[in-house]
Symmetry: C2
Subunit: 202 residues, 2 copies
């Protein structure tokens, strides 16, 4: 099997970091999304939404969406568990994963796409929406800062795929000049802790 | 336990329909989101993102995010399984669930919020983004139409939580005047099939 990805993009990094935590080796195929390689017929037939990354199994079956790929490997190799180990913890991982995606990763991506014009050959950038999205992302950092004052990781003492999503979101945020500030001591502490894991280099 | 929700909103319906498929009874507490009841201190302390629905357990623990609530009940009561029954199927459910959320439910919500001004007391509507989101949602209907020409449900013959999300998205789309057309016979067939399930009335 292999994963089609673009190494510099934030979502592929989530999957690489997840697989590194599991100790799973993978073959990667680099796609040049700036040049639109993901949009050609061959790749579109494998992954209709054309987003990276996507996984191709040996029988040709393809799975798109980063967290769908991660969940596939969580099921194939449950240890170490990164989606939770009991019903409540699984729900909490799903909750924080989605909160970070909807209120941080997605707004940062919108800010980048709508203010940079990076994909203007394939979308209609609306700069006012990009700027608003950037503000919304910054506002959510305050929510995370408060939450991490009582929690080692997003889900208490349990390191999960939600923390992977948060790390990849924060590092990606640099492209739109959003960075942690002195007002975020708990996020800074969390960031040092998670970014020093060997998987963060994947 | 009880769920705080707003009966007319699309996300609470996803959870009600999911619980109806499982045959799980629930106590519901109605929140008036138009009046901002979800934003008061008591509710914010239970659910920091202030979105509906959220679940409150008997010990006071709260779980936000519709799919986190659904996953909690999937773990507590696995049958009938709505998130898949093997690694590949679980990944496919996750994939289609996210595709429908990101390319249909979320854009429809953006279209509604940014063109109607419904929440203008608590956000900054950008009408051009609302209109663009509506176009993006309509474009995704063609992707679904093609996919459903070969599949009974989103994941082949397997009815899943992704179908629940799609039904709730399509019904919600009426508020922004997006409806299935004659060019969507497979989506129409799927819609008749899924909307006739008893759970669709939940």
């Amino acid at each position: 099997m292999k994963i089609y990805e673009t190494k510099s993009a934030p979502n592929p990094r989530r999957v690489r970091m997840f697989l590194a935590e599991k100790g799973i080796d993978m073959e990667y195929v680099e796609l040049d999304i700036a040049a639109g390689e993901n949009l050609n017929d061959a790749n579109r037939s494998k992954n209709v939404t054309t987003k990276v990354p996507f996984l191709e199994l040996d029988d040709g079956t393809c799975i798109g969406e980063s967290i769908a790929i991660c969940r596939y490997f969580e099921e194939l190799q449950p240890e170490p568990a990164l989606f939770g180990t009991n019903p409540l913890q699984k729900a909490q991982v799903e909750m924080w994963q989605r909160r970070v995606e909807l209120h941080l990763l997605l707004p940062i991506g919108m800010c980048f796409q709508h203010t940079s014009g990076y994909f203007k050959d394939r979308m209609n950038p609306i700069p006012a929406w990009g700027e608003e999205s950037g503000k919304n992302a910054v506002d959510f950092l305050a929510v995370l800062e408060s939450h991490l004052s009582d929690n080692t990781y997003l889900c208490g003492n349990y390191f999960s795929v939600a923390d992977i999503t948060l790390l990849c979101s924060l590092d990606f945020a640099r492209v739109v000049k959003i960075r942690l500030q002195d007002t975020h001591p708990n996020l800074q502490r969390w960031y040092q802790q998670v970014s020093s894991r060997p998987s963060a280099k994947a």
